[in-house]
């Protein structure tokens, strides 16, 4: 017996050793796999970080290169002179005529202006694409009496036109985006002189100097968008569509004719003026020819003196420079601009606002559901209960029939002190004499007969009573 036990023990020990070796191998394999996974993850993370850093560097280095045409910058290609000039303008009572402001976020803030008819929106140099909502806000602003100047040459000026077309398909005018040449220039052919006539412009007569301008096309007025060309090139003007530096006869745009440079659209009660050269307004060109006089006259034309005494007494005319369309030159300005744009973006878009409102309400609901008060700290006397697997189902079924029969016969045998052989040798009559109950005798002997439900329960109760 002891030997057997020892042998078994030894076998168990051997099994344990094998099992522990297997476990060791498994652990090593798992560790190696984990290390491999970790190194892959590390590489991916490093790559992502590298991409972000490189992206940021490229983004901000580009930003630095392209910063220009800001109303608040005083470099040669900014337009601070224009802004300061407007601020210096006084009325007859020596009161300030204009107030300037800027948009850092999005032109959608124009919707919040109280008196659009006394406001002028100025976007000079479009370095970012307009959003649909922004264009809609500008057109609505103009529709309610506001005035708009959009000056661009080779930038994203056409994004205004494209988005306006989404608003109304008949909005056709667009920036050509190719160099306009004219025989009338000053020293360098890129500096084109334009003679502005009073009967065309209606507010100014004189010469203005352009720098690398482009032209406008599809300017013909439509029923919905009436307008007129205010300023055009000379009849010797042509657009270098193919970029070869000389007019190509078979290309329509390259044929010499008067090309529109400044066009006025009448939008509702307001006006939208498209200028195909923003450099009229830049500091370097400000005092060349009559550029400053032209700019001043244009502003006066678009936001004329009002007869509304109430407005006069309390307000000045508001000139809004859109800085949101310029790329900022440093991280802080850029981040600030992105933040403002995001903020105004979701607060001015009605659908987005509704969506955010719904999300906020959902958030409120979810928070109330998820966050519960801290649980009550109360001592509870608690007793656990454990159950026998066999007793989980209290009902007996036909499947238990043979088991009950076996229990009954075994009990019968032991009660009468019989061995298994003796019990097997009992005849029917002898067994009947012992049991004395025909039902129980049938139950004991008829192994093929199945008992169900209540019948089986009755048999069981009889067996219990019998003993």
């Amino acid at each position: 017996m002891n030997l057997k036990t020892n042998k078994t023990k030894k076998t168990e020990d051997e099994t344990d050793t094998e099992s522990s070796e297997y476990d060791l191998e498994l652990t090593k394999y798992k560790t190696a796999k984990r290390k491999e996974r970790r190194s892959i993850l590390t590489v991916i993370t490093l790559l992502v970080i590298l991409m972000i850093v490189l992206g940021s560097i490229i983004y901000f280095s580009n930003t630095k290169k392209t910063s220009q045409l800001s109303a608040y910058g005083d470099r040669w290609n900014d337009i601070s002179n224009f802004r300061e000039h407007l601020l210096d303008q006084k009325d007859n009572n020596n009161n300030e005529l204009y107030t300037t402001s800027s948009i850092l976020s999005s032109p959608t803030v124009l919707r919040d202006l109280d008196n659009p008819e006394h406001c002028l929106y100025v976007a000079i140099g479009i370095e970012k694409e307009y959003s649909t909502d922004a264009v809609k806000a500008i057109i609505d602003f103009a529709w309610e009496g506001g005035s708009v100047i959009i000056a661009d040459d080779y930038g994203y000026g056409n994004s205004f036109v494209e988005k306006a077309q989404e608003y109304d398909e008949s909005f056709n005018i667009r920036f050509v985006g190719k160099q306009l040449w004219d025989e009338n220039y000053e020293k360098d052919p890129r500096f084109i002189k334009i003679n502005v006539k009073k009967d065309e412009s209606k507010f100014f007569e004189g010469v203005i100097l352009l720098n690398d301008p482009t032209a406008l096309k599809n300017q013909n007025p439509t029923e919905k968008w009436p307008g007129r060309t205010m300023v055009s090139s000379s009849s010797k003007g042509w657009i270098d569509i193919d970029g070869d530096g000389s007019p190509t006869p078979y290309l329509e745009d390259e044929q010499m004719s008067k090309k529109p440079i400044i066009h006025e659209l009448e939008v509702g009660d307001g006006k939208v003026v498209l200028i195909s050269d923003p450099s009229i307004f830049i500091n370097d060109m400000w005092s060349r020819e009559n550029n400053s006089v032209f700019a001043d006259a244009l502003v006066r034309y678009l936001v004329p003196n009002t007869d509304d005494d109430n407005f006069k007494n309390n307000n000045t005319k508001l000139i809004i420079f859109d800085e949101s369309l310029h790329i900022q030159e440093n991280i802080i300005s850029n981040s600030r601009q992105t933040f403002y744009q995001g903020l105004v973006g979701f607060t001015s878009d009605t659908q987005l606002a509704i969506l955010i409102g719904i999300l906020a309400l959902l958030f409120l609901g979810v928070m109330i559901i998820i966050v519960d008060d801290p649980p009550s700290l109360r001592h509870r006397f608690n007793i656990d209960f454990y159950s026998l697997k066999e007793l989980k189902n209290p009902i007996i079924t036909a499947a238990d029939c043979d088991r009950i029969r076996y229990i009954y016969l075994e009990r019968l045998r032991m009660t009468h002190g019989l061995s298994i052989e003796e019990f097997k040798d009992l005849s029917y009559d002898e067994l009947y004499d012992i049991i004395k109950d025909p039902d129980l005798v049938d139950f004991a002997l008829e192994w093929d007969k199945k008992y169900y439900g209540e019948e089986l329960e009755n048999i069981l109760i009889k067996i219990q009573k019998y003993f």
């Binding site: 906020a360 109330i368 966050v371 519960d372 001592h379 006397f381 159950s387 032991m414």
Partner: protein, 413 residues
């Protein structure tokens, strides 16, 4: 810790902020700012610092006894505000007097003593604590929870009963005389039988009543008292936890083992203990108070787990079994097919085996409260198994939950 109020206020704050921006509404903005300020103020005002000491006058006690716990709390921080203190207790302990959960307000360096009494109905090794302190701010918005790991140990020993008449007898004499009766005639105190008077008999042994009845001199014979070794086997397999935590085969078995060990040891016998659960633990036969303490400690830390068989337990304990000594097995004898053959082997080796069998199904029925057909079937099966074991030479006592321990022990004889 956030409360529902925190969630509601924060959500309102965010909603008002968004609403203020969407509708350009300054009233909403003011609401947002005010609520944010309240939240910030509440958040910054929940810092706490407390010192706690717990004192247990009786860290060792017996089942059913009551223990008083003293808890002293000192505020080492600023003015506390309303604080909630909860001394965590095991769920099997009853709170009898006082409370382990109090609300109080303490000034700086102020102390307070909390006293409460608990009843320990279940044996075991327990840890009292940790102490949970919850502090709420003035607006009742945030709730700071602090867990102080100040723990105390409490040992609850199983309670043993007093049994005057010992049921177990040995048929064989050891070298050193003792207090236990052997099934041999000798100079003991326990009555055995009467016989005819012979000349050498002292007069004090004459049974005058029997003499008068039979009309001839009759004398009393007494059982020989001697020391013998008893080995108690306690079944602590996971099956023994059937029933409730307080009333199950294991708890009854532990009580029986403690009682028997106590009684045998008091009468200068040597007692060993074998518990088998997930593994077999053997305490060699020994005597004296220290040995009793060892047995009681082992029983205190015995929990239902594993499925080791009785055969494995006997094989492990074989080197410590005194030949032909009494063995007591306390087991529900369910789900262990080795009992039958092991019992046969032990009987063959002249061990005197008694089996006290707490009925697991009856413990469960006690919880369920009704006799199901399946219960009847399993009960019959169990009766068969007990009868079969009796056939192998063991003394079997079926212990139903309604039967007191003293009565069960009496039946062993």
């Amino acid at each position: 810790m956030w409360t529902r109020k925190t969630a509601v206020l924060s959500s309102i704050c965010i909603s008002a902020g968004l609403g203020a921006m969407i509708f350009v509404d300054y009233q909403l903005l003011i609401i947002c700012v005010i609520f944010t300020l309240i939240l910030c103020l509440s958040f910054t005002s929940t810092e706490t610092k407390f010192e706690l000491t717990r004192y247990l006058p009786e860290p060792k006690t017996f089942e059913g006894d009551q223990v008083t716990v003293h808890l002293r709390i000192t505020n080492l921080g600023r003015l506390s505000g309303l604080i909630e203190i909860y001394d965590k207790l095991p769920t099997t302990m009853k709170l009898v007097k006082g409370s382990n959960h109090v609300f109080l307000n303490l000034r700086r360096y102020e102390s307070l003593d909390i006293k409460y009494t608990i009843e320990c109905p279940l044996r075991g090794y327990y840890l009292l604590g940790p102490v949970i302190i919850r502090k709420r701010d003035f607006f009742n918005i945030f709730c700071e929870k602090k867990v102080i790991l100040n723990r105390s140990y409490l040992t609850v020993y199983p309670r043993s009963e007093d049994i005057r008449r010992l049921p177990i007898e040995s048929r064989y004499r050891k070298i050193h005389p003792g207090m236990l009766t052997l099934r041999q005639l000798g100079f003991g105190t326990e009555f055995h039988s009467i016989r005819d008077y012979i000349k050498s008999d002292p007069f004090k042994k004459i049974n005058w009543k029997a003499t008068a009845k039979l009309n001839k001199l009759m004398v009393n014979q007494y059982e020989l008292e001697d020391v013998f070794d008893v080995m108690i086997f306690l079944d602590a397999r996971s099956i023994t936890k059937v029933g409730s935590t307080l009333r199950n085969p294991l708890e009854f078995g532990v009580k029986a083992a403690a009682t028997l060990a106590n009684t045998f040891l008091k009468r200068t016998n040597r007692v060993g203990l074998v518990t088998y659960s997930d593994k077999v633990r053997v305490i060699k036969p020994g005597s004296g108070e220290t040995h009793l303490a060892t047995i009681i400690s082992t029983l205190t830390g015995t929990y239902a787990m594993g499925n080791t068989s009785f055969k494995t337990a006997v094989d492990t304990a074989t080197p410590y079994l005194t030949p032909r000594s009494p063995i007591i097995l306390i087991s529900p004898i369910t789900e262990d097919d080795t009992i039958k053959f092991t019992l046969r082997d032990l009987t063959a080796k002249n061990f005197h085996v008694s089996i006290i069998s707490p009925s697991a199904i009856d413990f469960e029925r006690e919880v369920d409260g009704y006799y199901s057909p399946r219960y009847l079937m399993i009960k019959l099966e169990r009766d068969n198994r007990l009868s079969e074991l009796r056939g192998y030479g063991g003394k079997i006592i079926d212990w139903t939950p309604d039967k007191p321990l003293a009565e069960v022990v009496r039946e062993v004889r």
